[in-house]
Amino acid sequence: MKKWNLIIDIAECTNCNNCFLACKDEYVGNNFDGYSAPQPLHGHKWINILANERGQFPIMDIAYVPTMCNHCDDAPCIKQGKGAVKKRDDGIVIIDPKKAIDRKDIVESCPYGAIWWNEDLSLPQAWTFDAHLLDQGWEQPRCAQSCPTGAMKAVKASDDELAMLIEQDNLEPLRPDLNTKPRVLYKNLHLYSSIFIAGEVVGMADDVIDCVTNAKVLLSTKDKQLVSTHTDAFGEFKFDGLKPDRTDYSLTITHEKFSTKTVNFKVMENCVVFDEIMLEAKP
């Protein structure tokens, strides 16, 4: 049996909020029997976009992560629901809008905070993967249909096909530590969850300071050389996808016209940004 999965590419999310708005449009004021009761006009974010800024001005970036019900295969809400939450054969998790009335405990069971409490209806609610539309023959849920960059795509796949996709695109769940087997998977999640080391290399020649283009920048730990890159037209370099591992690192910068320079530093919790690494001209 093929099952639904939502694949989200963090590199392509621009925070346009179309997914959030499409979800609001679909569910506010609409009752879909057996699937969902109306979402409140304000407050609920069944699709909720998280943001993370990395680095410091002016060398920084920002990543956006749309989150929603993960339709987990091992869903805590199903266990907690005791019949009020069901897993469909196609992988979609539905909180029964009738059986789940007054079950605030279901909201608390979700470790991702993706279930919302509807005060007026006394009902836990979450994004249903637009199951009512898929059942009518829609090819994509509304969030994916409205996405301008193609960052979001629903894929109906067998377990084997999904495993291949995971392998091929390096897909990850938002919180692997929770072990709930989510069906919402992310590509390029490192843009959100990892750190980078970046900086600008400048050099003085003939009393003029210029950006140093095409300098070789080597990143090392005490024991080994890790990776190298070259500075761009503005003297900038960036190493991405690193873990905040509280380790001692060093950068070695070499260029034919300048004396080699080494910078030692420690990576703590955050990105490391070097505003201005000044090279001296070779004598």
Partner: protein, 999 residues
């Protein structure tokens, strides 16, 4: 014989169809009256008596009839009647079409060979009744699953499907095309084929449409201010303070019509001001340039002159170097997408965030092309005080710059190019004039100050080395300059005190690099798609049904194709939009016009009051609120409260902004509740071929998806009913309902050659096939100029007289070449616009020491991301729940203002704290958003909130609506332009507690 036969047929037809149409049946029973159709000399005719729903008819003339439809000859009667009936039966129309002559009908009406006489109350009713019969069988929309009907509509941010069930909108979605819709174009570049997805994208504000239709802020009934008595005390001082009482439509329309008549009689020409928003709900019939102008022209009014809000620097500045006044001083938008993908190596985005501004109406159509460019390895650089959405997504070098100092950096780039020989000397030699003088200024030969990268450093905050690196990278690569959102202009830095200088410097830089050569042009993949430019469909500025020959492009585009009554405003009085408050408060003001015909048009100063004209006594406000887009917005609140303004009518959809300052409110409905027609992103007028930002041209019938909510009515219907009270209804409506006007627009366009009206009515949209023959595609912008050939892009401007020698030979400038020292500016003495573009620091900025000491932060107010003008914002819309748009604090949705962590820390501000933005002009309370994306010293907050919510007396109180333009200066960029400069604004911010402002 045939004429008499048609008249005879009419009554059995009405009887038969009334059995099929509830609407027709009810109209037939609504009024008792006699209608007479006849030949003028009385030789032939037939009367129709409607009596409690029964229709009797007889041959002959009833002198006491209530309505007379009179034709000069039977032949004319036949022609008019057959024309009117031609849309009734779909299958007959193709046979009849070659024999129909709409011009005869209009000509007869203009010459009184065809007249409708009698009280408008009956004549309009008779017309309604006839129309109900003629169109009762027109089927709209397609049935889909779940008992829903799928309709189509069009928003300011893209076309949409609207799913409706039981008179309720279920959902509004972007359109995915079906297999019958034309396939997209294809571009080959660097060994790859690029074809856009087979769908239309949609902007956030379009996707939020359902929530603004069903908004709790909708005006559902006509209302009168409680302390406004048209026959007694008017209490203008209470405008914006007092509440409202519901009244009937009859009472409301009677007050409005009586006031219009009284004011015209009592005060004379020009006493009525029509103030309207720059953007309205989409559709060629309902747009402000259509139904609104048609009515205003019929009653005579003082015109509000729109300044080129989003193009200021380009219109007042750049145009003098290279022309393009008809495009507000921005370059031709042709062929750039293909050229950029094939040739360019670098795109410099300067004050340019296309992912936010979306080319105004074009949603995310350019987004996929920027993905292609990125994946092809075309690099990008982003110059902006804020690391905007495009920069954040695409990556590339971000160069933060102190607001308002762009021209200094541009001069330094020119300096590097001159010093290092990094410019196109042949091009400069053969295609430009005045370079020596420009060069003397840049190199400092003229004033002793070389404009070097080091020179600009203290002004711009950009390190000299970065400017040098950029200058070299730019010159060594084939580079596209994306200045402003659309790439060819629009928004950003051109809306500041130095905006004119900045836009001028942008075109001067490109002229040095060989503008128009392969890979060297203006753009950011937003404009210049290879679509069919010749397939005709009217844009909104082609005037719709206005018949307006002066204020729209009707005369140029659609008048010949859709014969209709012309209309003309007989008043010569004008007021700049930016000076409405002064006109009302001081009784006098002046301005410079946004006249696009020539380079000199903008120099013709005009004054208010115009000679011999009345001052403004009544304001007819139409569409969205101006508070959010008016600098020093509090002026407007005070202007509303002046005694001299005797009557304020506001025709609005939502109870927001200016509606709260009216004496009388007429509730209009949205575009989802009326019939309309329009092409996506097609503005026409000075946005000629504006649709070429799209991947697919999409022409939509904008279905009336649901009945108007409450008692609201379409704008057309409101104007028609006012016309009825002034004996103008036959003239105003031309006996057509809105859907019939849609059909007229359809017939006037090339769509009618491709798809039948019946099919178009049902499906609701048509995708225009792209230009498949590559040889027929529009050539790359300005390639002709770079190569010294005659102009070959398909645009009808400049006008013939603007070419100095041979037609199509050269630019619009006097020399026909790019002029570094414009001839037009040499003859016009504006000290702030010297012929050679000099860096003159902003009159409000870091260099204005005394003010900067008190207000050390620069406020920039770009066009908003999630709303469009006032559309989408406020209104209890779901857009408010977007965290980057507004933040809910204690139940109120506050507008967001961004600041850097260092500025926040200095002031003890935490993320989402309430903060007070203030200067001498006022106070606005916002929610703080702390971000590394913004340079220190700058506050970033979008302009054009829909809300204006003073916590106390309007005009003198802090605002919690998010109307940040309260803080921006009303001063024009230069003394001899009427231009806005909101991005030159100094403020201070403080953490605040809303409690301190509660009454």
């Amino acid at each position: 014989m045939i004429f008499s036969f048609i008249l005879w047929c009419l009554s059995p037809a009405l009887r038969i169809y009334s059995a099929r149409s509830e609407k027709l049946k009810s109209l037939m029973g609504e009024k008792n009256f006699v209608a007479q159709i006849q030949i003028k000399d009385g030789s032939r005719g037939r009367w129709y008596k409607f009596d409690n729903g029964n229709l009797t008819s007889g041959s002959g003339i009833d002198d006491k009839a209530d309505v007379f439809v009179i034709f000069k000859t039977p032949k004319l009667g036949f022609q008019v009647l057959i024309h009117m009936c031609s849309g009734m039966l779909h299958f007959v129309y193709p046979i009849l079409r070659p024999f129909l002559d709409p011009l005869t009908v209009i000509n007869a009406a203009k010459n009184f060979a065809f007249e409708v006489k009698g009280k408008d109350e009956f004549s309009l009713h008779f017309t309604d009744l006839m129309n109900a019969m003629l169109i009762h069988h027109w089927k709209q929309g397609l049935p889909v699953a779940n008992g829903e009907t799928r309709y189509v509509n069009q928003t300011n941010g893209g076309p949409v499907f609207v799913y409706v069930k039981d008179e309720k909108i279920i959902r509004i979605t972007p359109i995915d095309f079906d297999k019958n819709d034309a396939a997209g174009w294809s571009i080959s570049a660097r060994g790859q084929e690029f074809t856009p997805p087979h769908r239309a994208t949609l902007s956030p504000h379009g996707l939020a449409s359902k929530s603004i239709v069903y908004s709790s802020k909708r005006l559902l009934h006509p209302m009168k201010r409680v302390d406004f008595d048209p026959n007694g005390e008017r209490n203008p001082q209470n405008r914006g303070k007092s509440g409202y009482v519901r009244i009937s439509w009859d009472e409301a329309l009677d007050i409005a019509a009586t006031e219009i008549k009284r004011i015209n009689r009592q005060h004379g020409h020009g006493a009525i001001l029509n103030s309207h928003s720059s953007h309205h709900t989409w559709g060629n019939i309902g747009y402000y340039l259509s139904s609104n102008i048609r009515f205003m022209n019929a009653i005579g009014y003082t015109k509000m002159v729109l300044n080129p809000d989003s193009w200021e620097g380009f219109f007042w500045g750049a145009s003098h170097h290279f022309g393009y006044t008809m495009r507000m001083g921005t370059a031709e938008p042709y062929g750039q997408i293909e050229d950029c993908l094939k040739e360019a190596e670098l795109i410099v985005y300067w004050a340019s965030d296309p992912e936010t501004t979306c080319g105004s109406y074009a949603a995310f159509e350019g987004t996929v092309r920027r993905q292609w460019a990125r994946d092809l390895g075309i690099k990008s650089v982003h110059i902006d005080p804020y690391k905007n959405e495009t920069a954040s997504w695409l990556g590339g070098k971000w160069i933060p710059i102190i607001p308002g100092t762009g021209p200094a950096m541009a001069h330094a780039i020119a300096n590097v190019w001159m010093s290092e020989g990094l410019y196109d000397k042949d091009y400069v030699e053969s295609r430009t004039t005045g370079f020596e003088k420009f060069s003397a200024y840049i190199l400092g030969e003229e004033d002793g100050i070389p404009k070097t990268p080091e020179w600009q450093e203290t002004e711009t905050g950009v390190k000299a080395r970065v400017v040098r690196a950029l200058a070299r990278e730019w010159a060594n690569k084939k580079t596209y300059l994306s200045c402003g959102g659309k790439g060819v202009g629009f928004g950003g830095a051109n809306r500041s005190a130095t905006g004119i200088q900045w836009a001028r410097s942008m075109v001067c830089l490109m002229a040095m690099q060989g503008l128009g050569k392969p890979g060297i042009n203006f753009g950011n993949l937003t404009v210049g798609a290879p679509l069919d430019m010749q397939f005709y469909f009217p844009g909104y500025a082609d005037g719709g049904i206005s018949g307006d020959m002066e204020g729209t492009a009707d005369a140029v585009q659609n008048y010949q194709r859709m014969p209709h009554m012309i209309s003309m405003n007989t008043s010569n009085q004008k007021i700049p939009r930016l000076r409405i408050p002064e006109a009302l408060l001081d009784g006098e003001t002046s301005g410079y016009p946004t006249d696009p015909k020539s380079l000199e048009g903008q120099f013709q100063r005009f004054a208010y009051p115009a000679p011999g004209h009345s001052k403004i006594k009544m304001m007819y406000k139409y569409g969205g609120s101006h508070f959010g887009t008016t600098m020093e917005s509090n002026r407007l609140a005070k202007a509303y409260q002046t005694d001299g303004l005797e009557f304020v009518l506001n025709q609005s959809i939502w109870n927001e902004g200016e509606a709260k300052f009216a004496d009388l409110i007429l509730p209009a409905c949205t575009n989802f509740e009326r019939a309309d027609i329009g092409e996506w992103a097609s503005s026409g007028g000075y946005g000629h071929h504006n649709f070429n930002q799209l991947n697919h041209r999409v022409i939509t019938l904008q279905h009336k998806c649901i009945e108007p909510l409450g008692e609201s009515k379409s704008d057309f219907q409101i104007f028609l009913e006012l016309s009825k009270r002034m004996g103008l209804s036959a003239y105003y409506g031309e006996a057509k309902t809105e859907i019939q006007w849609c059909r007229e627009q359809f017939l006037s366009s090339d769509v009618s050659k491709m798809i039948s009206w019946k099919k178009f009515l049902k499906k609701g949209y048509y995708v225009v096939p792209p230009e498949v023959n590559e040889k027929n595609r529009a050539p790359a912008s300005m390639r002709w100029f770079a190569e010294g050939r005659k102009k070959d892009v398909p645009e009808p401007s400049p006008l013939p007289a603007e070419y100095g020698e041979e037609y199509l030979d050269g630019l619009q400038t006097q020399s026909g070449k790019f002029e570094f020292e414009p001839s037009s500016l040499k003859r016009f003495d504006d000290p702030d616009r010297p012929p050679i573009n000099r860096y003159i620091p902003a009159w409000e900025g870091r260099q204005t020491n005394e003010l900067f000491e008190r207000y050390p932060l620069q406020l920039i107010t770009p066009h908003p991301r999630f709303s469009f003008h006032t559309l989408g914002d406020g209104k209890d819309s779901v857009v408010n729940d977007i965290l980057d748009h507004r933040v809910n604090i204690d139940g109120h949705y506050y507008w967001t203002a961004r600041i850097s962590p260092s500025e926040a820390e200095k002031r003890g501000i935490k993320n989402h704290n309430l903060i007070k933005l203030f200067n001498d002009r006022g106070v606005v309370i916002c929610a703080a958003v702390i971000t590394e994306r913004l340079m220190p010293g700058v506050v970033h907050s979008y302009e054009s909130s829909a809300e204006y919510q003073p916590v106390g007396d309007p005009g003198d109180s802090p605002d919690i609506g998010g109307c940040v333009n309260i803080l921006t200066p009303k001063r024009h960029m230069t003394s001899k332009t009427t231009s806005s400069a909101p991005n030159s604004c100094l403020i201070e911010i403080e953490k605040c507690d809303i409690g301190e402002f509660s009454k």
